[in-house]
């Protein structure tokens, strides 16, 4: 019998609407928890979950809630979409209500449900639970009033059946990041659930410096190939001026103890 596996991952992605510089939704002070949790359910079983929404501000706040689809950009940024994507499972979802009001310092236990159809195929889909504040009007630099609102997207992965990630290193390269030009792994997920790399690697750069590397923990979605930068450090300090070529060797891990051996010379 297929199992339904529901993975919910909360992220505090505070976004804004409107083309303004440094807009601030002054009264949007929502805190959402827990940051991450997982659920298992059988097909046909209804699973109810609770997201706690706390108003950290002193005054009552109104929040609007809905579901959305989302995509993950190359830089790890999330883009939300109200439009239903072809593989969306938002139709499986029911939410408590579309609007809530939380007094200052109050905590609202907001419920939502996921009901996988009895014939759901194994695999993973995803959606987001969006929590948005009332629009506020702020003044732009040139004095124009512009409505903005704060929002938080709680990302939800829904994995049906015995689905799992299957990560493979498709290629190696170097990548320009805010931490400098670093070695990177192009990781393909041939499985049907998302996965993340972790672990430790050792290496040496062209100056003979002995380094430690660790991979970014960005999620790699099913069917996707994602560039995973390897951040370098010496002792406790990050290294941003690597001298190429750089040799990196060791083991990266994913899932429940799955491992990939790396022994690679990175050149610019």
């Amino acid at each position: 019998m297929y199992k339904l596996r529901l993975i919910l991952t909360s992220t505090a992605l505070l976004g804004t609407l409107g083309p303004v510089s440094e807009p601030r939704a002054q009264d949007f002070a929502a805190v959402v928890s827990p940051p991450r949790f997982e659920i298992r359910a059988e097909p046909g079983q209804r699973v109810r979950q609770v997201v706690e929404i706390t108003n950290a501000g002193p005054r009552p706040s109104r929040y609007h809630l809905r579901t959305a689809d989302w995509t993950l950009g190359a830089d790890g940024g999330v883009t939300f979409s109200e439009d239903m994507t072809p593989d969306s499972c938002r139709s499986w979802v029911a939410i408590e209500r579309r609007e809530i009001e939380v007094p200052g310092g109050g905590r609202y236990r907001y419920r939502f449900e996921v009901q996988a159809p009895p014939d759901a195929t194994r695999g993973e889909c995803r959606f987001a639970l969006m929590i948005e504040g009332d629009p506020q009007t702020v003044q732009t630099g040139n004095g124009l009033p512009v409505p903005v609102s704060g929002r938080i997207g709680v990302i939800v992965y829904v994995t049906v059946g015995e689905a799992a990630a299957n990560l493979q290193v498709a290629a190696t390269s170097v990548a320009d990041t805010t931490g400098g030009t670093v070695p990177a792994l192009s990781v393909h997920n041939a499985g049907n659930a998302h996965g993340r790399l972790n672990g430790f690697l050792s290496g040496t750069d062209a100056r003979g410096r002995r380094l430690e590397f660790f991979p970014s923990t960005l999620p790699i979605l099913p069917g996707e190939t994602r560039l995973i930068p390897l951040t370098a450090s010496i002792g406790p300090d990050a290294v941003t001026d690597l001298a190429y070529p750089v040799r990196v060797a060791g083991i990266v891990e994913w899932g429940d103890g799955r491992r990939i051996e790396i022994d690679q010379l990175f050149t610019r």
Partner: protein, 637 residues
């Protein structure tokens, strides 16, 4: 052209008619006028049985905090205890602490009245190997600070010790102490400090019947810190009423060179060097060197100590120690260490005190461990072996911190030991469990039990069990019950420690005691709800619960076999103070949401346990959340 698709509309559970589940801030109804303030009051009753006797104690405890805009923060902590059949064990205690009172635009004042400690300059606290002990007293201490440039302090009072079990109070020991000091941070590199303490007719032990001492002691230091190199020269001296005098000096240096830090120093300490009524490290000369390396995967450190007796009463001792830990993968780390102490002189010179293996005898120990993440949490397996001239012992311990739901905690330890005493061999096994959690909004349980059974000729068992229940039965009101049982034959595993700077306070007492404690507590707070402790207007609040514990295996986690540290002051943001209870626990019930730091005033930690004065423990508090934090005190290796 096809019409635009309508936006998807979510389905609603039960048509959107689910009942609302909303928690509101249940302290919000209190007055919001005035400065932020909080108080608690407790009524406590307990019965403690010790050996064949029992004592009933009853009392009240009161505490409060007040945060003022112009006079800093105030904390008060008071107890009244009635105990003993005719009240002969009764006592009371009150402490008022004030932090951060602006005296001028540049000067701030901290002061304590009640149970205080002789204040210490920052340089006196910042010691690598030798500790200058603080003197507990009933009296007053005051400290003035001018930004980061000047620190001046003074104290006066009657030395005291803590007494009581669940209701802490103090016993004044008689005599008096007076102290004062000054530290000047001359520039970004140089600092100098001097301080002195004078005691008159003060017991040298923990009770009034101990021999009394009158002495004057002084301490001076000069420190330089620049470019990863820090050196500090310390000098100290003391003179007794009968004319005996002693002096000493020690130099500590630390060099950060790339990934490796080096620390080294030398010392010369004459016999009978004292600080007030307490013994400083004395009758020792020698040096030490230690190197350490830390990366994301590796932790390595090792050191060598050499110590000789100034008086010649004891032999020369060489001590070496090494430790390594390697993080093999995200779920697996392993390591080990060894220590060895070699008496280089005639072993007959090695002094012995009754019942305690002298630290200067020849001995060695080794241990290895594996830390592994597993499906149930995080586990550690550790094997210890130690040997000296009288015994060799081995112990296997298996610690597991179990995955639990948020708000719950569980850790367990299994212990197996074998001691060969020459004439006989003892085997032992033990089990320890620590767990608890919050069940619903108003009920919590914490339980801690350690049991150790020795087989063979010894045929004895040690037991420590503690069960605590808390029930919030009405707004602001909490009822608590706590039961403990402690039975020990006073044996400790053999440890091999450095002879430099260690003043062991092992207490080898056969004891058997138990206690039952009942408490009713009322918490109240008022003032601007929008400006709670550490906060600013418009912020929500949460709670910090924590425990200060003695981290026996140095893994930073409160394992089931480890103990809390009682009666130690913990500071929130360096401003608000609480004292740990008999189990090492503390709480700040109303703290503004956000990031905070905790620090420990380790004056009352048992030697050689220490939390560095500069150590800060970061804690994040969520609105209406309860943050759990474990503060580890470490023993100097």
């Amino acid at each position: 052209m096809a019409p635009a698709a309508a936006a998807y509309e979510d389905r609603l559970i039960d048509g959107g008619n689910l009942p609302v589940e909303l928690d509101v801030d249940d302290t919000a109804g209190h007055s919001t006028a005035g400065w932020p303030r909080a108080m608690y009051a407790e009524a406590v009753a307990s019965r403690i049985g010790r050996d064949d006797a029992s004592t009933n104690e009853a009392g009240i405890r009161f505490g409060g905090m007040l945060d003022t805009p112009g006079f800093g923060a105030f904390t008060v902590d008071a107890t009244v205890r009635v105990a003993g059949s005719d009240g002969q064990e009764s006592g009371n205690m009150i402490t008022l602490m004030q932090r951060g009172m602006p005296v001028s635009s540049e000067w701030f004042m901290n002061s304590t009245v009640g149970v205080a400690y002789s204040p210490m300059g920052d340089l006196a606290r910042r010691q690598a190997r030798f500790f200058v002990p603080a003197i507990q007293m009933s009296g007053t201490s005051v400290e003035w600070r001018r930004t980061n440039q000047v620190q001046a302090f003074a104290s006066y009072g009657e030395p005291s010790v803590y007494s009581g079990v669940y209701i802490p109070t103090v016993e004044n020991l008689g005599g008096r102490q007076a102290g004062a000091g000054l530290q000047l941070n001359l520039d970004e590199r140089w600092s100098v400090a001097a301080q002195a303490v004078d005691v008159s007719s003060v017991p040298t032990g923990l009770d009034k019947s101990s021999p009394r001492i009158s002495s004057r002691s002084w301490f001076g230091a000069v420190a330089s810190e620049e470019g990863g190199v820090r050196t500090q020269l310390n000098v100290a001296g003391s003179s007794l009423e009968d004319g005996d005098a002693a002096a000493g000096a020690w130099l500590d240096a630390m060099v950060q060179s790339g990934r490796i830090s080096h620390s080294f120093g030398g010392f010369y300490l004459e016999p009978e060097l004292v600080w007030g009524n307490q013994q400083l490290a004395s009758d020792a000369t020698g040096g030490y060197y230690r190197a350490a390396y830390r990366s994301r995967r590796w932790t390595l450190d090792g050191g060598l100590d050499y110590v000789s007796s100034v008086s010649g009463d004891s032999g020369d001792v060489l001590y070496g120690t090494g430790y390594t830990r390697y993080q093999y993968s995200s779920r697996l780390g392993y390591g080990g260490g060894t220590s060895a102490r070699q008496n280089l002189s005639d072993s007959s010179l090695a002094t012995r005190s009754s019942g305690v293996d002298d630290l200067r005898s020849t001995a060695w120990s080794a241990f290895g461990f594996v830390d592994a993440g597993n499906a149930w949490g995080i586990g550690r397996g550790q094997l210890n072996y130690a040997q000296d001239s009288d015994q060799d012992s081995a112990q296997l311990s298996l610690d597991q911190t179990w995955n639990t739901h948020v708000g719950q905690r569980l850790s367990t330890s299994l212990l197996f030991g074998r001691v060969d005493l020459g004439s006989r061999t003892e085997n032992s096994a033990g089990l320890a469990v620590f767990g608890g959690g919050n069940f619903g909004r108003n009920f919590s349980i914490d339980a801690n039990a350690r049991w150790n059974k020795a087989f063979g000729d010894a045929d004895s068992d040690d037991l420590f069990a503690n069960l605590a229940l808390n029930w919030g039965f009405a707004r602001g009101w909490t009822a608590s019950a706590n039961y403990y049982q402690n039975r020990s034959d006073g044996r400790f595993p053999l440890t091999v420690e450095s002879p430099v700077g260690i003043d062991p306070t092992y207490e080898r007492l056969d004891r058997s005691d138990s206690g039952l404690y009942l408490r009713v507590r009322y918490d109240w707070r008022a003032g601007l709800r929008t400006a709670p402790l550490g906060g600013s207007p418009g912020m929500g609040t949460g709670r910090i619960n924590g425990v200060l514990f003695l981290d026996e295996n140095d893994n930073g986690r409160f394992d089931a076999s480890e103990s809390g540290a009682a009666n130690v002051v913990v500071l929130l943001n360096g401003r608000f103070a609480v004292r740990t209870d008999a189990s090492g626990r503390f709480e700040f019930p109303t703290v503004v949401a956000g990031n905070h730091s905790l620090s420990v005033v380790s004056d009352n930690l048992p030697l050689a346990w220490n939390v560095p004065a500069e150590a800060r423990f970061d804690v994040r508090v969520g609105v209406r959340g309860q943050s759990q934090i474990e503060l580890a005190a470490r023993r100097q290796r």
